[in-house]
Homo-oligomer: 221 residues x 2
């Protein structure tokens, strides 16, 4: 059985879960308190981070490389286009969300409000929370601009770029930090992706001490 | 003519320069003061970062996605293996250097000592410099451990993982922040990669106000 070492609200883990689910690859989810840096876990991934995927006897680390691997060994249904320029656009946007969006928004909101508490690292810093709440507006506008020209974020078919974006936004939506009224196009895009069977496990997540808001799992939010 | 918008000591730009040079793809280098966020530059890459590559009429951003694109359109000589698991290992190690090493070492040494001055952002913070100088030891040891089992970092052939690592280490070597006496295996690896023709342009870099040490361009360092 494949096993994914993860934490429920990590956008990096969620991106891998979405890829696996879209390709109907079964996986057992194992919660990993990676910040405790247990020797057993460090042997699996010396970088000490989740996600880590055990699949067919191999141990894989880093969400981007894991998703590329899944795509190469389970190409159907495809989450990457075939043409190099289109593939570049998917990868550029995955980096946009996993690097820029993560740095400017996810780490400022989710990590301050949730991770710090779970890891026993104190209270949210309001300066960071304010900065994240400010910056997400620009990102939603950028997504809206992309989606005004394309059916999905990286082109006319759904790709890993959509899963990367949806992974971050769904984690932030769990703590009510996404204003869905800001951009109708982005809201429509999220409604489409949220209603996919691959999203079900993510909508069922429950983090002790942090009950999700009513609208989180609602397909008609 | 292809154009690469870059800054000389950026490890992300150096990784792309090494890939292009190894594949003998000619490129004009254009220095870009990306931190000034000129509208023309932001149109090329809304993320406001270097490297940006103009190639065959297309504008490409993000060093990882750029290198994957180059590999797909110019596969010879290969910098990625063919087998999915080996490709995962290359990508995992590229992320190791561009994410973990960058966060723990490059940003703590190079950015404190050089970028801050160039960008007019004040003096190095000695706490960060100390932390970077401490952490690089662990990374050199990890590289040595990998190289005790493999001829190159990700396996028995040279790949993008070696270029990612050499890009970071060469930038740090420019400011004398690498102790080559720590690990003889790592020093041998760097001597091998440094003597490749693809490395020449990097060894000729000169940053005004920061003359490189004598050993920087010396193949017998």
């Amino acid at each position: 059985m494949n096993r994914l070492f993860h934490v429920p609200l990590s956008p990096f883990c969620r991106k891998v879960r979405l890829s696996l689910a879209e390709k109907r690859i079964e996986v057992e989810l194992v919660e990993e308190r990676y910040w405790e840096q247990e020797p057993d876990f460090l042997r699996r991934n010396p970088a000490g981070k989740v996600p880590v995927l055990k699949m067919g006897g191999n141990t894989l680390a880093e969400s981007g490389p894991i998703c590329e691997y899944i795509e190469e060994v389970h190409p159907e249904p495809p989450l990457m286009p075939r043409e190099p320029l289109a593939r570049h656009e998917v990868r550029r946007l995955v980096m946009w969300f996993d690097d820029k969006f993560h740095h400017e928004v996810t780490s400022k909101l989710l990590y301050e409000r949730v991770n710090k508490k779970i890891m026993g690292m104190g209270y949210p810093e309001s300066k960071n929370v304010k900065m994240g709440a400010q910056k997400i507006k620009y990102h939603l506008d950028y997504m809206g601009w992309l989606l005004d020209q394309r059916r999905w974020l990286a082109g006319d078919v759904m790709t890993l770029a959509d899963f990367a974006a949806a992974a971050h936004l769904s984690s932030l939506d769990y703590i009510s930090d996404v204003d869905w009224n800001r951009n109708a196009t982005v809201k429509d895009w999220y409604a489409k992706i949220k209603s996919r069977p691959a999203f079900r496990s993510i909508l069922a997540d429950q983090v002790p001490g942090f009950p999700p808001p009513q609208h989180y799992a609602d397909l008609d939010f």
